[in-house]
C-alpha cells in the first residue's frame, strides 16, 4: 500500500491501479501465487525433483569411482538390503538426510532469497538448508547432518560449497557411503526456459573415491504446489532397533 501511494503522488493515472483491489480468493482451491521469473538468478518458488532415483550414478550412468573401501561398503549395503535387512540411515531415524541424499528426495522444495541468504525449505522431514551467500565458511564449523553451505554466483550459476558433514548420513539410499572428509560442490542454474533448475553436483571424498565425481538432479518449476506437512516421526514403521538395524516391514 505504501508503495502504491508513492506512485500515486507522482501521476494521477497511476492512482487508478491502487484502487483496483484484488478480491480475495473465495477459499476453495488454492490459487497459484508464484509467477515464473525471467531473471536467471531468481530461484524463488516451489520446485519438485524430476523423477525419483534412489541411487546416485555418474553422469555416464556408471558407478562412482570407488576405491576398495568405498566398493566394499557399497556391496555390504546392497547385500543387506537383498537379504531383507537394509541398513538404515539418517532418514530412517528422521534425522536430516544429508547432502546430496536430500537433493534426490522426491518432495518439493520452496526457495526463498533474501539479502545474503538463500533458504531451501524442504517438504521432506520439514528440513531446511541455509546457503550463506558471498562469505567464507567459518573457521571451525560444527559438523552437522546437512553440513555448512556457502554460495556465490558465477554468471547465472549458483555455486554452493558444503563442508563440515558428520558421518551419520550416506550419499544415496542404495549404499554409497561418505566420510567426514566429504566436500560437495553444487552448481544450480535455470534450464528449459526457467521451467527447471539443474543441480550439477561434484562429490569429493578421498576416503571412499579415487577422484571427485559428478552427478545430476533436476527440479521442475511447480507453481501449483504448496508444501505439505511432513512428520517423519509419526507412525514410523522402520524405526531402527537399539543396534541401528532396520528390518524392512
Amino acid at each position: 500500500m505504501r508503495y502504491g501511494m508513492t506512485r500515486c503522488l507522482g501521476a494521477a493515472i497511476a492512482c487508478v491501479g491502487i484502487l483496483l483491489l484484488q478480491a480475495p480468493a473465495s477459499g476453495a482451491a488454492e490459487k497459484q501465487v508464484f509467477t515464473k521469473s525471467a531473471d536467471p538468478r531468481n530461484f524463488e518458488g516451489v520446485w519438485w525433483t524430476r523423477g525419483y532415483d534412489r541411487t546416485y550414478r555418474q553422469l555416464d550412468k556408471s558407478l562412482p569411482p570407488f576405491n576398495a573401501a568405498g566398493k566394499a561398503e557399497w556391496e555390504r549395503h546392497v547385500a543387506a538390503e537383498k537379504a531383507g535387512n537394509p541398513i538404515g540411515d539418517a532418514p530412517t531415524r528422521c534425522y536430516p538426510h544429508g547432502i546430496p541424499r536430500m537433493m534426490a528426495s522426491p518432495y518439493p522444495i520452496q526457495i526463498i532469497q533474501t539479502p545474503g541468504l538463500l533458504t531451501m525449505l524442504h517438504e521432506v522431514g520439514h528440513n531446511i538448508r541455509y546457503i550463506y551467500m558471498d562469505q567464507p565458511h567459518p573457521k571451525n564449523p560444527k559438523r552437522s547432518f546437512l553440513g555448512h553451505s556457502v554460495g556465490h554466483w558465477e554468471g547465472d550459476t549458483l555455486v554452493v560449497d558444503t563442508i563440515a558433514f558428520n558421518d551419520r548420513t550416506r550419499i544415496d539410499e542404495e549404499g554409497i557411503v561418505h566420510s567426514l572428509k566429504l566436500h560437495m560442490v553444487e552448481r544450480f542454474r535455470k534450464i528449459d526456459n526457467g521451467n527447471a533448475i539443474e543441480n550439477l553436483m561434484t562429490i569429493e571424498d578421498p576416503e571412499y573415491f579415487t577422484q571427485p565425481w559428478q552427478a545430476r538432479r533436476t527440479y521442475i518449476w511447480r507453481p501449483d504446489v504448496r508444501l505439505a506437512e511432513y512428520i517423519c516421526e509419526e507412525n514410523n514403521r522402520n524405526e531402527p532397533d537399539a543396534q541401528g538395524i532396520t528390518t524392512a516391514k
Binding site: 501511494m5 500515486c8 503522488l9 477459499g27 501465487v33 528422521c94 536430516p96 531446511i128 550463506y132
Partner: protein
Amino acid sequence: MSPKIPLLAALLALVSTLPAAAATPDLFQVWKLPKAIWTLKTADGKTPPLNAAGKALYERRLAARAAGKPIDDGVMSCLPHGYPRLLLSPYPFRIYQKPQFVAFVHELHHVHRIAYLGEKNEPVESLDPAYMGYPVANYEGDRLVVTSNGFNEKTTLDRSGLPHGAGLKLTESWGLIDGGKRLEAVVTIEDAQYYEKPWTARVVFDKGDPDTQFAEYACTDTNPEAKMK
C-alpha cells in the same frame, strides 16, 4: 504570502482524499524468546478459562508430570510442538516476508511454517488434521495477523499440557513494540471443547542478530529440550 503555501495546501488536500495506508510491518528479522515459557498464562497473568473437561484433562497431565511420568507430550518423542507451543521455547526463528506469503522458520526442530497472504481459512471439515494447522496471513494496519485451523489433537498449547481439540482456532497478531526493538505476538485461543470462552496470551520476543546462522537441531530421544528446566 509565499506561493508555496497554496501548493502545499493542494498537496495535503490530495493526500487526505487517498485511502489511509498503514505501513506494512517490517518483521524480517531474527527473533528470540528471552526465557522459556513452560506454562502459558492469559495476557493478564491468570490461568486460562478451562471448562470442566479442560480442567480434568489438564489436571491429569499436571499430576503425571509432577510424578515424573509426563503423558500426552509428543515433543519428548520428537513429534511436533505445534503452535503456539513452538514459540514458547528460547530458540531463535526468522520471519520472512514476501508478496505471496510469510514464513516462520525456526531453529527448534527445524520447523518451517508458511502462511500465504490474503487468503481465508478453509472449513475444518475439508482439512486433513495437521500438527501446525493451516495458517493464513493478512496484514491489518501495522500488524501481521495469522489465523489457523485444521489442527489435530496430538499437541498441547504449552509444555505444561494446556489442552486443545480439533476445533481450535488460533489467531496470532504480530507487531513491533518498543520502537521496533521487540516483537509482540498476541495469541487468541478459541476452543469451546476445553475453554469457557476465547482467551488471549501475549508473548514478547527480542531482536536477534540478523546474520545469525541457526544451529542444526537434530531431535533425538535425548533431545536438549527434555533436559531444560
